[in-house]
């Protein structure tokens, strides 16, 4: 059947997964039933285990769901260590439920799929050789892509039942008190892993730095942890976060960033006590710089900045321009390091950050968010998941969740090389157009017709031409030409859920 964003969801998918089609971004009053795992109580006498291999053998059985976090990003050693043991032990039919999959995990996941070790995956995203393999039908069952907030919801409600969580931490004591901010492989906030620690049936902490008991501050607590294992190294500090954040010199990115700043400062939300979230990437970081100057010039302070935190945002906190950082993950070393000295940099879990199935998440109080897009269509629907060739190469991240902000801005170039960003129909709908308020490109902006109130506020900003989104789409097409439509088979290789667990779109196997 066709859902609200006019995507055709095969009936057998709706039946098999008991999905309701996506209808609305409004979730007020959604009934929720939480599901907690059963477990055996312990006083913790035998938590510290010598052999990771033995522990994996004794805890993981065929058909189980196992989870990991991706806070070590491209510097992760834990995922490969554990998956190697699992593959070598010939386990079968596992469901992989990490918070996301980074490139450093690709090869071993592809191997696990080929050997039948992994037959189901749910993740925020995937890229590279893994995305390519899945798009070519390698995995037995469709991947389920969930946003960070939706993963929290799915874990809380039992849609994801984690049997064993393998959580790498840069420090822990023998009872399992751990945080993400101390040690050689510190990454800052443990935001996504906190869900696994709270809800997995068995929680295994893997660390390279054993601390004297009790280890504080403790983000993961001993009350949640079954086992602690010490290994040589949990991560490569050089690859965990990017180093010094560089200010973009790309004139196109700077122009977009300047327009984003203009749109924010001319919007009704730019007033004392406002809140905002920016992503990473050249344009988003540049926006933070422009916004800083605007806040100084207008004597405006923000109440909080949300989501993935970067050093430029920490600078705003230290300058007193932002009162609180609500930190679910840290993208660079500066942001990770500052958790120590800045008590107003609050670590938050994925549920607090973005979950639609609790009693209020931070995104519900968010005024302004700047998000990116691989594609955006004339209905303002956004794709951050499939590339221009139809192959999976992205992640939902917090996109759907943060897009519920009062002013949701998509910043993107009109075209990338010969690929149009503004298109008649996105390949895959991830975030519905009704969430998106303004598209900002280097040639000008388009305001969602649903937001007539913004039309008046944003129509006469010097240097910010306003177009309809159809005009921007035509401009892009005139530049690059009309692409030949992509070809897919009927086979569904991935499902895109909305943050409330309804189904937004499916991704089909590419035809080469």
């Amino acid at each position: 059947m066709e859902n609200k964003v006019k995507r055709n969801i095969p009936d057998e998918i709706l039946t098999q997964y008991d999905y309701k089609p996506f209808t609305t971004t409004e979730i007020e009053g959604m009934p929720v039933q939480r599901e907690l795992p059963a477990f055996k109580a312990t006083t913790g006498a035998n938590k510290l285990v010598d052999s990771l291999t033995d522990l994996v053998k004794s805890t993981v059985k065929d058909g189980m769901t196992i989870s990991f976090h991706h806070h070590f990003r491209e510097g992760d050693y834990v995922f490969n260590k554990v998956m190697r043991i699992i593959i070598d032990n010939g386990l079968k039919d596992l469901t992989l439920a990490p918070s996301s999959l980074t490139n450093v995990m690709n090869d071993i996941v592809v191997e696990a799929i080929e050997k039948g070790v992994v037959t189901n995956i749910t993740s925020s995203g995937m890229r590279g050789s893994l995305g390519d393999a899945v798009s070519h039908g390698a995995l037995a069952n469709p991947v389920i892509f969930r946003s960070h907030g939706n993963r929290a919801r799915a874990i809380e409600t039992g849609a994801i039942k984690i049997d064993v969580a393998f959580l790498g931490v840069p420090n822990a004591d023998a009872m399992g008190n751990a945080n993400g901010m101390d040690g050689d492989s510190a990454f800052g906030s443990l935001g996504y892993a906190l869900m696994d620690a709270q809800y997995a049936q068995t929680v295994v902490l893997i660390t390279d730095t054993l601390k004297p008991y009790p280890n504080t501050p403790a983000s993961i607590k001993q009350t949640q942890v079954d086992y602690v294992v010490e290994v040589d190294a949990v991560g490569d500090p050089e690859k965990i976060g990017s180093g010094a954040t560089r200010f973009t010199k790309d004139p196109k990115e700077l122009k977009i960033a300047e327009m984003v700043n203009n749109v924010i400062t001319h919007s009704p939300y730019f007033k004392d006590g406002f809140s905002f979230q920016t992503g990473t990437g050249g344009a988003a970081l540049a926006v933070t710089r422009f916004l800083r100057q605007s806040m100084l010039d207008n004597q405006i302070k923000a109440s909080f900045a949300l989501g993935g935190i970067t050093k430029p945002t920490v600078d705003l906190l230290e300058e007193g321009l932002v009162e609180r950082l609500m930190d679910v993950q840290d993208f660079d070393k500066g942001a990770a390091a500052s958790m120590h000295k800045n008590r107003n940099q609050q670590e938050i879990d994925a549920s607090w950050y973005a979950d639609a199935a609790n009693k209020g998440a931070m995104v519900d109080k968010l005024d302004v968010v700047i998000l990116s897009a691989l594609e955006i269509d004339t209905k303002f629907n956004v794709n951050v998941m499939s590339g221009s060739d139809g192959v999976i190469r992205g992640a939902i991240g917090g996109h759907q969740d943060a897009a519920t902000a009062k002013l949701t801005i998509i910043s993107a170039p009109l075209v990338r090389g010969r690929i149009a960003t503004v298109v008649p129909d996105v390949t895959t709908v991830v975030t519905p157009g009704e969430s998106i308020d303004v598209l900002i490109t280097e040639v000008g902006i388009a305001i969602n017709p649903l937001r007539q109130d913004l039309m008046a506020a944003l129509s006469d900003i010097p240097g910010v031409p306003v177009f309809t989104i159809e005009e921007l789409q035509q401009m892009a097409e005139k530049k690059v030409g009309t692409p030949k439509p992509l070809e897919f088979t009927d086979r569904v290789v991935a499902l895109i859920e909305y943050r409330d667990g309804t189904i937004m779109d499916v991704i089909r196997e590419v035809k080469d």
């Binding site: 090389g417 690059v480 030409g481 030949k484």
Partner: protein, 97 residues
């Protein structure tokens, strides 16, 4: 017109295209490498073909490495490659340009 020597134009920078022409005997024989081949492969070949036809070249081996070039770039690189291959760089065919 006959191709007199193997000739190349363009670079491997993003948004550029590198076109190499050499003598052929069997019409236009394309070898195309491009990240956007699925969506624009046919159009890239059509643009180069139209340039070759404008110079009345009947046979050529055309090796193309495209880095997402726009149509006007493809045309410019094709014209340059043809003029080099025909050794008419000093006396360009203005009507084609």
């Amino acid at each position: 017109m006959e191709i007199k020597k193997m000739a190349m134009a363009g670079t491997l920078e993003s948004s550029d295209i590198q076109i190499m022409l050499s003598a052929g005997t069997n019409g236009y024989e394309f070898e195309l490498e491009s990240d956007v081949a699925k969506q624009f492969g046919d159009q890239i070949k059509a643009t180069i073909t139209s340039v070759l036809q404008a110079y009345a070249i009947d046979n050529a081996k055309i090796s193309v490495v495209d880095k997402g070039a726009l149509d006007l770039v493809i045309k410019a690189r094709a014209v340059t490659a043809v003029q080099r291959a025909l050794e008419i760089v000093d006396t360009p065919n203005w009507e084609v340009l």
